[in-house]
Amino acid sequence: MEMEEFASGKSWVHKLDPRVKIVITMVFSVVVALNNHLEMTAISIILPAFLLVCARLDFGKVMLRLAIVNGFTLFLWLFLPFTTPGETIYAIGPFTIQREGVYQALLITLKSNSIILMALALLGTSQIFTLVHAMSHLWVPDKLVHLFFFCFRYIHVIQDEYHRLNNAMKMRGFKPKTNIRTYRAYSYLVGMLLIRSFNRSKRILQAMRCRGFKGKFYILHHYEMKRYDYAVGGSSLAFSILLMVAK
């Protein structure tokens, strides 16, 4: 799967201060997740939709993302309309579809998609390292920030290593099937990744020591809130609060 697919772009949404992005996404998500009104949830999608349009993201790719992560809501649609007690609106053989169940499933689907779109529009349009840097300004403990930093830094390295090992297995005629041999082969692959990474982490530690690491990264580039950061941040917060108040 492609990472940071939407992160490069020149729109104002991309250029928004990452601290503003994180705060807005969190407030909006909490407000939407906790409300129980279908109309309010439907209206809430306006904000992420507006941001997505402004960010000029590829519509097809965004829809593909949405389709993948809607697996869970689809799973709920298989149950909720049939099992929620309430007024029957339609009957197929032994199954009855209840109004309350449909309502609840629809509410969950809208909520979930609204929040996902918001995360996609704001967090998805930033590089991970930028977001991690922003976290350090938002009272996230230093150790956790460093953990994020190192983890994402090495995901790519380890993914390359995984592909190299996987290619080596394929060249030797490995074909995954449902048998113990396959699982053992994958286990040794994971085991090898773990061991190499463990040794790599020791080298990282040594390299950090050589450079006099004292538990702090010195950041040269600092964020500066511009006028449009305040404007977008303020209006999005106002929108979220309106959603919460107007019922």
Binding site: M1, M3, E4, T25, S29, V30, T41, R65, L66, I68, V69, F72, T73, F75, L76, L78, F79, T83, G101, Q104, I108, L110, K111, S112, S114, I115, I116, A119, L120, G124, I128, L131, K143, L147, F148, F149, F150, C151, I155, Q159, Y162, P176, K177, T178, T182, Y183, S187, Y188, V190, G191, M192, L194, I195, S197, F198, N199, S201, I204, L205, G215
Partner: protein, 198 residues
Amino acid sequence: MHISEGVLTAPVLCVGAVLTFAGLAIGLRKMDYEKLPEVAVLSSVFFVASLIHVPIGPSAAHLILNGLCGVLLGWLAFPAIFVGLTLQGVLFEYGGVTTLGVNTFNMAVPAVIMGFICRYFIKSPRLAVRVVSEFVAGAGAILLSGLLVAVCLVIALGESMDSAAKLVVLAHIPIMIIEGLITVFVVEFILKVQPEML
């Protein structure tokens, strides 16, 4: 299994967030800077492993390996799993901001519990004892996670989710077996190749 946004109710989300916060605090306190690169890089390995799909009959499942994570990292599995889930949320939109607490709790608590049990028996010189404890760690972590997800769904959506909750647990059974086997093979492999890692 990630619970997606908008499904759970406020009390479930809050309890999940608070408990995860506590777990993270313990994990971070136990992790000094000497240990940080190791936790971070192992957490990247678990992230990459979660993109590996293994075949189960006609279908395929991605690896979770939270049991193995607990065996290798103990309490530190909490921050490691939190970081992995957050990155999955931001990069692929699986889970999200409000469910992060609950999802981390559902994955990390079984990891820590199973890790503790297994780390005790893993020192045994008898192969049979080791294999059983490793299998229990891998399979048990998935079972516990599945149960926690099911419990969350039932609390949030009421009795109408009973059948769905049962299905969630049933669907985890084949994954349990595979994760158990993989945990046995991986831990035995590490014991052979680099025992000081455990």
